[in-house]
Amino acid sequence: MFRYILQRGALALAVALVVSFATFMLLNFASDPASAIAGEDATQEVVERIRQAYGFDRPVLVRYFEWLGGVAQGNFGESYYWNKAVGQLVLERAPVTITLALSALFVTIVIAIPLGAMAALNPNSWADRFALTFAVSAQAMPNFWLGLLLIILFGVMVPILPISGDSTWQHFVLPAFVLGSSSVPAVMRLTRTGLIEVMESDYIRTARSKGYRGLSLLTRHAMRNALLPVVSVLAVQLGQKFGGSVITESVFAINGLGRLALQSILGSDIPTVQMLIFIFAITFVLMNLLADLLNAALDPRIRIG
């Protein structure tokens, strides 16, 4: 098990390094930070002076290792747009996004797992059909559009929930629903196929012959095994929620990392954008690592085989 953790950890670290290098190169080749700071009307001379003052005239590789060294010491650079340390900006905005991502995951679990179980217990019934239709529709639904539909619904027709901002827990209900719903189809399908497979297995037949029926058969025997793969997919989905927060936070005016990302892009604030992409990638890598380790802990075939 220790060896397995070490292997996975090394891979995660390598991926994080490659991703940070790739984004640094892409963003720095594609943009000119000096003219972004100088503004649109600046003369060539001013841009040149800024380039030298900030050190943008040095080779991009040197600047990458400087950045990486800074990150290793907890210094994430300065934001040109907000005139603040990037680390401080991120710390201010992160709690809101973490709250949003976790509540979205909660929404996914509460909708997807019962729906998948319902479909699996009665394959090809109306319940199964309903669940599949729901999955196909949810997959085709543009996230931002769903958000706006809910804003129309709760802003005008049934004004019982706040539709914009992040000051109370009620403010998170609609955004969490929007962000969570995008993971429902994948988790629902996985629960369904997993449970169908388990229900046909020998040990469930044995349990049935011993007199287990209905909910106790489901919760005490079937669900435990069917949910093994679901647990790791949920970890991966949680990792994706951070990247997905960009749209949801913009629609509902939530001041988290996603909105910060959009604002920084529109303000050509490369250090902040770079850092946010890095943080989202790291979160995803860590969640994947967590999923692998959870899988290995729950299923001995993986860590031994």
Binding site: L27, A140, I152, I247, A261, L266
Partner: protein
């Protein structure tokens, strides 16, 4: 269970329908495939014949006719069936031309992704060894990147245009092609007909082109159909956030962003383009599901 492996049918081999007609039969009795095909087919026709179908010029502004409601609401006129937007452009015409934008970007980006993903997948699967290791690592790294955020940043920095949006979305959406073609190629590599081609002295390139690729093409088409929907949604998200297609081009995502300004006053401006997006993407997904069922009947569920 596929028909050709059913032992009961073997004595009637002579009378058995050809694989092609079997495929056609399966396709015509698959409800989802037919609905999806109908939706996508109709919208492709709408895009092709947009100049004939649109009642007005989608770019023509009219200050006198701003924010007209749809014809069936009070104050609407049948001259502008779905009303007009904030600068008086006919909404139905913009929706019709928006079909072109979504389909061009969808097909373009899905093709860019296809070229990257299939090339990497076939090479990794066929050559194996260190090439496979490198490609797998690139795949892991690509999956870790926050795609939407990177796409937003790159499109904004490079400068938003239809071609840039196609290129960036395509470059960020190839993992699905890679995973499927890689495992399919690994499976095909050990088949007898590939060994026969090798024995007859075919070069690696010839084997890849005429033995491997034709046998993964149906899977590639299925993925292409799904990626079409994914790319269309990605474009609409970028345009909605203001870092994709720029005004005055009638992109549905951009139209939703513009309509958002009058969300409570004229919700139809947000409803209609969203419905179009939903319809097109659901059509593409149904078509993809159907094609997968029909081309690999044993792979259902």
């Amino acid at each position: 269970m596929s028909v050709e492996t059913d032992p009961q049918l073997l004595p009637e081999d002579v009378l058995a329908p050809s694989p092609r007609s079997q495929l056609l039969h399966r396709a015509l009795s698959h409800k989802g495939l037919l609905i999806g095909g109908f939706i996508v087919g109709t919208l492709i026709l709408v895009a092709l014949f947009a100049p004939l179908l649109a009642p007005h010029d989608p770019y023509a502004q009219s200050l006198a006719k701003r924010l007209l409601p749809p014809a069936w609401e009070a104050g609407g006129t049948w001259d502008h069936i779905l009303g007009t937007d904030q600068v008086g452009r006919d909404y139905l015409s913009r929706l019709i031309y928006g079909t072109q934008v979504s389909l061009i970007i969808g097909f373009g980006a899905a093709s860019v992704g296809l070229v990257i993903g299939v090339t990497l997948g076939v090479c990794a699967g066929y050559f194996g060894g260190w090439i496979d290791t490198v490609v797998s690592f690139v795949l892991t790294a690509q999956l870790a990147l926050p795609g939407l955020l990177l796409a937003m940043a790159l499109v904004f920095i490079i400068g938003p245009s239809v071609w840039v949006v196609i290129g960036i979305i395509g470059v960020l959406h190839w993992t699905y092609y890679l995973v499927v073609t890689r495992s399919a190629t690994q499976r095909l590599k050990s088949q007898d007909f590939v060994a026969a081609a090798n024995a007859m002295g075919a070069s690696r390139w010839q084997v890849l082109r005429s033995e491997i690729l034709p046998n993964v093409s149906s899977q590639i088409i299925v993925i292409f159909t799904f990626e079409l929907g994914i790319a269309i949604l990605a474009e609409s998200s970028l345009s909605f956030l203001g870092v994709g297609i720029q005004p005055p081009i009638p992109s549905w995502g951009l139209m939703i962003a513009e309509g958002k300004q009058a969300l409570f006053f004229r919700p139809s401006l947000v409803l209609f383009p969203g419905l179009m997006l939903f319809l097109l993407v659901i059509g593409a997904n149904l078509l993809g599901d159907g094609l997968r069922d029909v081309t690999s009947p044993q792979g259902r569920n």
